[in-house]
């Protein structure tokens, strides 16, 4: 009977303590970090043409197009203050961004009295160069709800890089005067996977 019990125990062996399959050393070979600029961390606020020159937020007018985000053009350098820096070592990543919702007048877009500005009225442009002309409005693509896997901030990044960004907003005609908000997200994923 003894061999039987030995075999039985081996077959039914349950590992009550967890198996640690990976124990990272504190000097990893593979890692990355992502940094957003000060102004991007503070949020993207759209403004009118005067506010764009002064880097201040002023109310927008219905029916106007290509309203700048406040820090699209720093009034002294004409450079954008919106950027994302990625440092990585021995890995390859994609960087995506997107809005969680349309621009809504109520939190979470809830309630019958909620007004929306469809998110495709907002557009963005990217560049590895930061000057008066880059990122360019002519290269801008509209936002979609969620992460746009067809238009990533960066694909297959293997070297540390800074991606410079600008944002614009068209205000549909007859938009009622409210503060419209959404949540903007930036996400890094391992290359080969969707955001």
């Amino acid at each position: 009977m003894l061999p039987f019990f030995i075999i039985l125990v081996l077959l039914l062996r349950t590992n009550t303590s967890a198996d640690l399959v990976m124990n990272s050393s504190l000097t990893p070979q593979y890692f990355y970090f992502v940094q957003t600029s000060d102004e991007l961390s503070r949020g993207i606020f759209f403004t009118n043409s005067t506010g764009s020159l002064e880097n201040k937020q002023y109310p927008l007018i219905s029916g106007t197009k290509n309203n700048n985000a406040v820090w699209n053009y720093n009034r002294t350098s004409q450079k954008t203050e919106y950027w994302v820096y990625v440092y990585l070592q021995n890995t390859e990543i994609n960087l995506c961004h997107g809005a969680v919702n349309h621009l809504c007048s109520n939190p979470n877009c809830s309630g019958d009295d909620n007004y929306i500005i469809p998110i495709d009225n907002a557009k963005w442009s990217k560049s590895y160069v930061n000057d008066q002309y880059n990122p360019s409005l002519s290269d801008a693509v509209p936002f979609v709800i969620g992460f746009d896997n067809n238009n990533k901030l960066a694909s297959g990044l293997r070297e540390p890089a800074t991606i410079y960004l600008r944002y614009w907003l068209d205000v549909p005609p007859n938009s009622p005067p409210y503060a419209y908000n959404t949540t903007y997200q930036i996400m890094a994923v391992v290359s080969g996977y969707d955001c």
Binding site: Y30, F33, T36, Q185
Partner: protein, 159 residues
Amino acid sequence: MIARLLIFLLIIHLAEAAVIGIFPVNETIHVKPFKNYRLEFYLFNPSTRDENVSIDLKCKSNGEDYQHANVFPKEITLPAKTDITNPKMVLVEIKKPIFAKPIFGEKNVNCRLSATIEDKTSLIVTAQINGKLVGINPFKLMVLLFLFSIAMIAIILSS
């Protein structure tokens, strides 16, 4: 006085940037029945301000949510000026209960660990875990049943 004021403004200015890092970034595992697999991941924050980070784990197997996976903790405060030498650990645990699919054979499971700084602009870093869920080995089961039946016969005969 002006120099002091400028330094003060500079410090305030730098404190706005959000930074978060992660490692490892891509892991492969085999999850067998009766075992709990634990993987350590590390987060760090080289910026000059502490960050509150929410942590999430989503696993899918054949397009369906795989529920037997968890991450601890769900929230963490990442102290400022942490880097790869002094990061904070999060623990991912993945199980394969015996009656969870697949009971026999193998199935892929893909998990994404995400760490998010909730801010006006949310910043999310992710790591990928790819694995196989391994069911019971039919040969082992046959042997087990055979031995069980012999044991039953032995018990009956001895009584």
